[in-house]
Structures are given as C-alpha cells and as structure tokens.
C-alpha cells in the first residue's frame, strides 16, 4: 500500500558488509576532511575519488546519482549562486549584474562551499543507501549508546518517508473534497491548511500511542537488551576506522599549521 519507507537498498556489496559504525566513521571522516583540509580542491576530489566510486562499489550508483542530481545538485547550485553574488570579497570583478558583482575570489569561495555541502549531503546519502538502520541501531546500542537515543535516531530516519506517505493520504482525502492542489500557486498556497492540520494532529496522537505501544513491549525495561541480528565487527573494520581517524587528525593539523 505504502511506498518504500527507508532509503536503504538491499545489496550484497563490500560496502554493505562493512560494520555500520565503520561506515558512519567513513562518511564523517570524508566530511570533516572536506571541511578542514587546507588544500582547495579537497572536497572535489573527495566526491570524485571517494564518494562516487564507493557508491559504485556498493552497487547503489543509480540511486545515488538520482538523489544527487535531483536533490543535492539544485540545493548546492542555489548555495553557489547566493555565495558568489553576495560574498563581498576580492576586487577582480569578472561578471556584473546590476549592483551585484562576481569576483574571481567570491566565485572560488562559493564553489568550494557548495562542493563541501555537496560532499556532506551526498556522503549521508551514500550512508543511508548502504546501511540498514536497524543494524546501525543494534550496533550502536551494543557499543553503549542508550537505547532511547538509538530509538530516536532510527525512528527519525523512518519518520520522513512515513510523514510523506501520510501526507499523500491526507492530500488524497482533500482532493476528494474538491480541493484543487494541482493548479495555480495561490490556490496551492491556500490548500496548505487542510493538509497540515490533520498531519499535525495525527502526529500528536501517533506519538502518544506509539509511546504506549513500545512501552508495552518493555522498551524501558531495566534488563540488559539483546539483539536479533549479530553484527560482525572484524579487525579489518577496526583498522579502517583508525586509519580514517588518523586522516582526519592530519587534515585538521594541516589546517591549523597553515592558519
């Protein structure tokens, strides 16, 4: 009845088999390096030489490409334009648009920032595509993360697709009452209220009932928890995590050194 409710794509790849924490460390390291490395082209290279090849290795390149071009690219382009126009740095004006100047410096600055954001969002996309959220939760809980905290993370990962499915039903209900959601912008803006009301109220009821439902199933039990899935964490994963940590420290050190 409903659409798929997680981003995770079931594949049998090297990336999928990595321990969830390793993947989390991997993408955080890529992001941190993109943001801290003093070398200008770092984020571009991280994207081209790490994230894109990793998505291919994980067998999720088509899905990754779709999200990147449809969602991340427009957002990053917008950020790029805003920064290029409104960043008052540099004298070397290469483009004029009324009172707005684009300088070589602002262009370079905007390009790097847009790339950093691109790397950040695409790294998370890669993570979500290749990591099963319940494996991540089990693994983090096993490592001592409070289960309540893990639950919040996981249910948040699920909430967007869920809200989307719910919003679809509500939209369907209101269109059935003659609400025109397909025509002009003003009509569409006016049609927001009938959609938001049920969504918010529904969520309030849902939160209460869900709290009862998980409590009834021993969620706050003081027993030590067990896990249905065994999540392997071979020494190979540990080595990768240490190497990544070292790279991040190197990048930060280089940044401080040159600053």
């Amino acid at each position: 009845m409903h659409e798929r409710l997680s981003f995770h794509m079931k594949r049998n790849s090297v990336i999928h088999r990595l321990n969830p924490l390793t993947k989390l460390v991997l993408i955080l390291a890529l992001i941190l390096i993109s943001f801290t490395s003093p070398w200008y082209w770092t984020p571009h290279f991280v994207l081209l030489l790490a994230i894109i090849p990793l998505s291919a290795l994980g067998g999720v390149f088509p899905e990754f490409f779709k999200t990147a071009t449809r969602l991340i690219l427009p957002a990053a382009s917008f950020l790029f334009l805003m920064q290029a126009f409104f960043q008052p740095i540099g004298e070397d004006v290469i483009f004029k648009f009324y009172f707005l100047d684009i300088t070589q410096e602002s262009l370079m600055f905007a390009f790097r920032n847009a790339m950093r954001v691109f790397v950040m969002v695409s790294a998370f996309t890669l993570f979500l595509l290749t990591t099963h959220p319940s494996e991540l939760m089990s693994d983090l809980t096993r490592r001592g993360l409070p289960p309540q905290f893990a639950y919040v993370i996981i249910s948040t990962l699920q909430i967007l697709p869920q809200m989307q499915a719910k919003a679809q039903t509500i939209i369907a209900a209101q269109r059935s009452r003659g609400l025109d959601t397909e025509s002009t912008f003003f009509k569409r803006a006016g049609s927001v209220v009938p959609l938001v009301g049920p969504l918010v109220f529904g969520s309030l009821v849902e939160v209460e009932e869900r709290a009862i439902a998980i409590e009834a199933r021993g969620f706050t039990s003081k027993h030590s928890k067990t896990s249905l899935h065994e999540i392997p964490d071979p020494s190979f994963d540990k080595v990768i995590r240490w190497v990544l940590l070292a790279l991040v420290i190197l990048s930060i050190a280089a940044n401080l050194w040159l600053a």
Binding site: M1, E3, A173, R175, S176, R177, G178, L179
Partner: protein, 264 residues
C-alpha cells in the same frame, strides 16, 4: 450516475498487482457493497472511481467522464469519498466550517451550500455540534463529521470505505440511516465493508473481490448465500443467512424480516 469499469488493471510501484482485470458496471441509484479479505484490492478499486489512482490498463468512466482525462478536484463534483480514518480528513476549527469546505470547493451558490450543510448536519445528527472543534469530539462523532462533510457535497455517487469499523451499535445504526436516506435521494452508494451483517441489511448488490479479481457479483441474496465461494476471500455469510442454511430453509435469507417470514 453510472460507473463503468472496463478491464481495469493496477500495479503498485512495489510490484503488487492489486487489480487484475476488473470489469463492472454500477448503475445510477444502485447500493453496492464490496466485500473481501484484507488485501483483496477493495480500496485500490474504489480509489479509481474519483481518480486518486489511475488505471495501468483499462478504463473507468464516471458518467461521461473518463477518470484518466479528469482531475480529482473535478471528479469530486460527481464522486464523494469518505475515507476510513476521519483523522486524515478533518482540519477545520469547527464542525460547520469543516462540512462547508467540500461544497464551497465545488463552487455552489451560498444558498445551495447552506441548504446542503443543514441537511447533512441533520442526517448525521450533528446539528447541535456545529461550533465544536472536530478534534474535541469522540472518534465516533468525528466519523459522523467526516460523513457529513462528504454528504454535503451532494454528489450523485458516494463511496464509503469501512464506515462501521470501530463504531458502536448506535453509530452503525446512524450510518445505516444515512445510507438509506441517500438511497431515497437516488444516489449511487458504494461501500467497502467487513461487517457482513451490515452489508446484508443495507445493500441490494454485493461484489466480492479476491486477489484483485471479481469473485462474485450479483444481488445480495445470491452472493451472500454462496458460503464456499465467499470463504475463498475470507468472508462468512451473514449470521441469519447461516442460521437459515442450518435450519434447512430453501431460500437464502439476509435479514430479520426475511428470516421470520421464511420460518413462519
């Protein structure tokens, strides 16, 4: 108004073939119940009637409008659809505004809207509750508000998706009352229901779906007597029908009147 469905097929993005070639004609003024097991395709089918879903193959005609070529908002003037869960539908500050929403969208005159709203309120016994916020009402009354908000649109076709689920006897009687009134007015009523006794007492024609296909379709008396075939789609005949069978009555009986007449 007539509903004409020709060779309708529909597949969800997940690959689930929910409807596998359905052809049906529902004539103006007919009262039709759709029954069948969970996942048989009942909701998927009726969501085609007002264009919420589009056929992958085949066609659905509402009067002379093809649902493929008509927007949902426009179809709303011919097909009213009461969703199963009223909480997915209600949003207004008070019951009156809520019920006025639909007819106003359809662009009726103020006088006409007032008349329709008044009638819908009376029919659902909500006349004394017009100023209450729907969310301060019990779920039972919220269901009635959802019903009223569709009835007020005065569409020639009204669809109910599981109207009696979770309702108590009093409210089921109210809902039956509303359906009887719509029949009086010559409306076409299509209702999805698991409540087979409710179905037997309020509908003349029954369609049993199974795995996206029509298993049985005909007068309620005929369909509800076919115990073995209904069992294929997880439906039991009504209580009095089963009782009549066990007592060896020749005719299939559906309700108290028919039963008492048959054993007289």
């Amino acid at each position: 108004m007539k509903i004409e469905i020709t060779n309708l097929r529909f597949t969800y993005p997940t690959g689930l073939e929910a409807l596998q070639g359905i052809s049906l004609t529902i004539n103006a003024g007919e009262q039709v119940a759709i029954v069948g097991q969970n996942g048989a395709g009942k909701t998927t089918l009726v969501r085609h009637f007002n264009g919420l879903l589009q056929p992958a193959c085949g066609s659905v005609l509402i009067g002379d409008w093809d649902t493929k070529k008509t927007s949902v908002a426009k179809l709303a003037s011919r097909v009213g659809y009461v969703f199963q869960n009223p909480d997915e539908q209600l949003f207004s500050r008070d019951v009156l505004t809520e019920i006025t929403f639909g007819p106003r969208n359809l662009g009726y005159s103020k006088e006409k809207i007032d008349g329709l709203v008044k009638r819908a309120l009376a029919l659902t016994e909500l006349s004394d509750k017009t100023e209450i916020n729907p969310y301060d009402l019990s779920p039972t009354w919220r269901k009635m508000v959802a019903l009223a908000s569709i009835i007020a649109m005065d569409t020639p076709i009204v669809i109910f998706d599981e109207p009696t689920t979770g309702q108590d006897a009093l409210n089921v009687a109210r809902i039956a009352n509303v359906i009887a009134e719509l029949r009086q007015e010559g409306k076409t009523v299509v209702t999805i229901t698991h409540d087979i006794d409710f179905c037997a007492e309020n509908f003349e024609r029954v369609i049993a779906l199974s795995n996206g296909q029509v298993l049985l379709d005909g007068p309620a008396r005929e369909v509800l007597g076919r115990e073995e075939i209904l069992a294929q789609t997880y439906v039991d005949p009504p209580q009095l029908t089963r009782l009549g069978k066990r007592l060896g009555l020749k005719e299939t009986v559906r309700n108290q009147e028919e039963f008492l007449k048959a054993i007289w």
